[in-house]
């Protein structure tokens, strides 16, 4: 199996003791990787390092063999991402926002912009400015931005944030579609256990900045009734049970 993302000894600690410690993780081609953990476990920190927004204290992330810290442009060439809340320039229309991003990819034309807007259900708001968008609409636009360049790897941080049930189903369907059709690799973080169970085919649990275990979803469901049970037992095995997961 081809390793797409390779995380090695990734460490970044903040003054308040939060952060991540010695994370090792390999993501293979075709994975829809679920990065599961409670709020504050270090999911966003890890993903910000993966996308170059933060520099690690120690360790490195390699995407397609290129180091994020040293060969950023090459590493990110086939990556689409959405970190935390999806941001857009509020003074530009949805289309113009995507046009800005499209300039970084020679193969992306206006037709592709319409295509991703269609995919995320945002085509009717093409010429509207994100100023008036709801959280869900912004999230969809962010997703459109992440998918714009037909990336081989998509890193999504809490992609279902602010989406309604219909939206969640749409997005999940979209992820499965891309994974099957284009062999796109996904790295998705979420604290919604049920959603991760339905979306992802491989799951890693992060707790208090440490990776606990990585297992494929079918394997987990063979041994545990639900993903929630697995999560609780993993956390218990490695320490205290978080009150949020009980």
């Amino acid at each position: 199996m081809e390793t797409i993302i390779e995380i090695k000894e990734l460490t970044k600690l903040y003054g308040n003791g939060r952060g991540i410690k010695d994370i090792n993780l390999d993501i293979y081609k075709g994975d829809i990787f679920g990065f599961l953990g409670p709020n504050g476990a270090g999911k966003t920190t890890a993903m910000k390092i993966m996308t170059g927004l933060i520099r690690p204290e120690r360790g490195d992330v390699k995407i397609f063999g290129y180091s994020v810290t040293e060969e950023y442009e090459l590493a990110m060439e086939k990556v689409g991402c959405l970190i935390e809340i999806a941001e857009a320039y509020t003074y530009m229309s949805a289309f113009d926002n995507l046009k800005q991003l499209a300039r970084y990819y020679p193969e992306v034309d206006y037709k592709r912009i319409d295509e991703v807007l269609e995919l995320t259900g945002m085509i009717k708001y093409k010429h509207e400015k994100p100023k008036k968008f709801s959280l869900g609409m912004k999230q969809r636009l962010g997703l459109a931005a992440a998918l714009l360049s037909r990336p081989k790897v998509v890193i999504l941080d809490e992609p279902l944030n602010g989406l309604d049930v219909e939206g969640m189903i749409d997005i999940r369907r979209l992820i499965h579609h891309l994974a099957e059709q284009d062999q796109t690799t996904f790295f998705i973080s979420s604290h919604l256990i049920h959603d991760v169970e339905l979306t992802c085919n491989r799951i890693g649990v992060i707790y208090e900045g440490k990776m606990l275990n990585v297992e494929s979803t079918p394997n987990i469901l063979k041994n545990y009734a639900t993903l929630e049970n697995y999560f609780v037992s993993e956390v218990e095995r490695n320490g205290r049970v978080p009150s949020s997961a009980r």
Binding site: L53, L74, M76, V79, I83, E84, T90, Q100, R103, A145
Partner: protein, 250 residues
Amino acid sequence: MAVFQAALVNEVEKLYKKKKALIAVLLSLAVIVIGQLAIVGVRSGFGLRGAGSVEFPMLVLAVVVNTILPLFTALVAIDSFSGEFSQNSMRITLTRPVSRFKIFCAKIMAIVLFILAMLLLLLILSMLVGVIFNTNSGTLHSFVMTIFSYLVSLLPMVVLALGIVLLANLIKSGISVFFVSILVFIVLKVLGLIFSQYSSLFMTTQLDWYNLFLINSFPVGKIVRQFLIMLGSGIMLFTAGFYLFDKKEF
């Protein structure tokens, strides 16, 4: 290079879309109109010539180079950095396959282009107004010198912009950056007056360096020294600014 170009086009587009540029254009126009009105007033009220067709653009330059140009440069530079930091919209660009160095350069380049555009706009407008409303006092030489004066004013303005960019990467709030910039500007101006023998070292005095090119004897040595000082401080400010920008967490 293609990536840098994309980043630059993006920065310019943002500048243009934010309508800041439009306000800058309108204000430049206002300065020229007010300046011309003042000269007409001086001429009919006091019987002075005020300024001839060539002197008018130089008068405009002397005024704007110490007022609206630094002001707009500061606004644009702060908006390009502090503004995007605070709205987290920096992430939009940062997560694309483009290095921070290229983003930083593109942002600086966009500011440079903005200043250049402002200078050219002011030059053309003031020349037109000067020729239409004032007695002709122009020679080819003075015409060329006027254009030259406007163009060389770009350099000190860019150094100033780099200084503001450094501040924007140093201080969190854009408003603080703005006020600190104004304070520093005024302090340097005052220091330049008090220590006039060292005034050529101050960024604010360098804004007037175009005067050196107008001197008949053309003081090459002085011009080269001024150029090197500006170049050196430009490199310092650029490097320091980029260092902070590169280290920043988003």
